[in-house]
Subunit: 458 residues, 2 copies
């Protein structure tokens, strides 16, 4: 007969063994990722053979087909495409933005990119005086009398003092997203926006704008931070007129797809653990960090688990969402279909912050269930800290956010953020900006979290 002492000891030993098993398996995940990870090769193909893949573009279709084929090579239980009808915005000819009347500088071209969803200028372009503002509120304060007929130039920089650059982005991006309609409300003819980066350089950053449908749509373009500084300095000295021309426009919606693959769970197949990123990117650059990295992370999670002959208790599903950048159609459609099928996502993890060295995960969920479930997650921290990973409360990812109502936990993969906005939405977001080891460590980190959720539930 077992004494009380023996029972206690056994329990402790069992706990210890389990912990050792976990440490051992997570170590094997990292070993595999750093030696037989596929993410870097996949990302190289996606970025150099396919390139930028804005929703509705032929490249987006190629990316759907390529990733479907790659998922097919892994030996999953099923791989399928989920239809979604996506918007199709095209940039058209290279944008022109030019200072035309400076006494000190003469005529001078500015480095510019039309914002996503923007309407084009009238044919032949437009020329108007520029007025600089630092916020949407300032436009309201200046009102019709100062704004009417002008080009509003939004020039509030991202705050360099923020340690995490996404906070700096969050503090400035309202100008890009809502600036056009706000300016149009007071009679502006167009908008220029300082590019979203803390760096001073010559590369304009595109990104989505959202029009208020009740207000006239005016063209909106980003200019580089160096050109923003220059324009601002000129405006301190003299009135400046700018010529701009762009024939960007929206075409008819296009049939596209979310790309999905999964390994069916042995014990609780109805409990889904989703890993995902978004397959579309902007048209400039090749969407290496945003969000090719997230897609190949998610794909490599399944590849690594298969290579390790891991048989999950729960269903592990990889989803590559379409049209995150300018519509979120893929994410919304995925959640809609999932709810219709009464699916339950125990957890969803999105990687959409780049392929840099992992720093941890943020975690989100409905108030009613969050505290209890997060308590469990926190018990895994020692296993993750061994790989320099932290856990915090915070947002997850745009594509998976509609799944929150299923009462699982949502996670955002959080890599180091310092370099992200050097590349984000520019021609610089290419494979050259991605370090192979950093990318592989991301895949290993996410796989480790998936393993723990699968083994212990939430």
């Amino acid at each position: 007969m077992l004494s009380f002492f023996t029972i206690i000891t056994s329990i402790n030993l069992f706990g210890q063994d389990d912990k050792n098993d976990d440490a051992f398996f997570i170590r094997s995940i990292y070993d595999k990722a750093l030696t037989e990870g596929k993410c870097y090769d996949w990302l190289t193909h996606l970025t150099t053979k396919i390139g930028g893949r804005l929703a509705g573009s032929p490249q987006a279709a190629a990316a759907v087909e390529y990733t479907r084929q790659m998922l097919d090579t892994i030996g999953l239980d099923s791989v399928w495409l989920q239809p979604c009808l996506v918007p199709h915005w095209v940039r058209g000819d290279k944008e022109k933005v030019r200072i035309v009347n400076s006494k000190s500088m003469g005529s001078m071209n500015l480095n510019a990119l039309a914002l996503g969803n923007s309407v084009g200028t009238p044919k032949g372009g437009l020329t108007a005086e520029v007025i600089e503002v630092k916020s949407l509120d300032e436009v309201v304060r200046l009102g019709h009398e100062n704004i009417k007929g002008k080009i509003v130039f939004y020039n509030r920089p991202m705050d360099p003092k923020q340690i995490r650059t996404f906070n700096a982005y969050g503090g400035a991006v309202d100008q890009r997203v809502f600036g056009a309609s706000k300016a149009a409300l007071f009679g502006a003819v167009a908008v220029l926006v300082r590019s979203m980066t803390t760096r001073l350089d010559d590369f304009p950053h595109t990104g989505v704008l959202v029009y208020d449908d009740k207000i006239e749509k005016i063209p909106a373009l980003a200019i580089s931070t160096n050109d923003s500084e220059l324009l601002s300095n000129l405006l301190k000295k003299e009135p400046i007129q700018v010529f701009m021309e762009s024939n960007c426009r929206k075409l008819a919606d296009v049939q596209s797809y979310n790309v999905i693959g999964e390994i069916k769970g042995r014990e609780f197949p109805e409990e889904i653990i989703l890993v995902g990123g978004h397959l579309d990117s902007w048209d400039v650059g090749s969407g290496a960090h945003d969000d090719g990295a997230g897609c190949v992370h998610a794909m490599d999670v399944l590849q690594l688990l298969k290579r390790l002959s891991y048989q999950p208790k729960r269903t592990i599903r990889c989803v590559l969402f379409m049209n995150e950048e300018n519509g979120l159609v893929g994410g919304l459609e995925y959640a809609k279909v999932s709810n219709e099928k009464n699916e339950f996502h125990l957890a969803a993890i999105e990687s959409d912050a780049g392929g840099f060295t992992p720093r941890g995960f943020s975690c989100d969920g409905e108030d009613a269930i969050f505290t209890e479930k997060f308590k469990k997650v926190i018990t895994w921290l020692p296993l993750l800290e061994a790989y320099d990973l932290s856990l915090s409360k915070g947002g997850s990812g745009a594509d998976i956010s509609p799944l929150k109502s299923q009462n699982g936990l949502l996670f955002g993969f959080r890599p180091d953020s310092q370099r992200y906005f050097d590349y984000h939405h520019t021609i610089l977001d290419t494979i050259d900006a991605v370090n192979k080891r950093e990318l592989e460590l991301g895949a290993a980190s996410i796989t480790s979290l998936v393993y723990l959720i699968d083994k212990y539930g939430l």
Copy 2:
């Protein structure tokens, strides 16, 4: 009269205030570093106007003069040069390494760099058969009969499974440092070494070798990892002869200097807190991460404290050491002089792991004093964790290691290590490989640690 409860409350409040003061001051350090840090501008000058600065070279002299002048602009209490006589090794003409007899490949040049301190080949070069080994021990096992007259090719890769790349480096670099003399002991005529990086590319990595003076000195060159793979594959199929030529050599020692600046302490001027890096670099590339970053970090610590009008209790001293790469003369001389003067270094912090995003500090010290002092350091962790910094036991830096016997604590600044060996000792170690924010965050991290040591002692 104060009640017991009031006293307790007051003490708690005082503690809380102090903690708030610290959090506030550290926040102001980060704000300053990210908006008025000088480190990136200094590093840009050091790398683009001066370049690679191997000890004894004219560029090293220029770097001494430039950094002295820059320290002079900060408003320190004193700036001086500390003489040290350094070795002067020169690379000479571009090295030639060529496969000469491959049936499958014909004649083919390999990307090579002589190792630092290597002797040159005989005039006109040498040609010999290549034998591949994976370790120094394998050379011993193979012995005279297999090694004599041959070129020994050390080809054990850095282990990609190590999470921290410095561990992978530590596990492979014996081949580069000691491989030549070990091979010569068994009659080899020269040595080729696989470059020290986990990456597969075409860039050879130089670095120091150390000869055993009792053994004949034979030439040693690094070849790129791609060429190492190629050579290894050829050797599986056929005997390979390689021609190599290099006229690298040692010249007479040269007078050089450590560059030093300090702010005198108000209360305990005899307690020195040192921050440092090494000013010399290899001749290829421009020593941006190794160790220009460390130098401008150390300089910026003083600059930021001055800008913040901080008046230290203890003496804060910046030391830019000469000749870390191929002799450590500067570090040894600094410690010798310091001991002669009966100085006491309460703490010394070295930044010599690159200008990447900070991850924390490792801490070292004599056994007799370490545990007690480190306990105190650990109490500061919450203040540092707010900036994603950790503290661990571990080595510090080569230049400051001779100060250990003064019974203070030694710290190594630990930035993210994933990209370091992409650039280390190659032509790629340039300012383009440095991210401004990552570099500035390093300066802020080190300044924060200096502030805490200064305020609370050890």
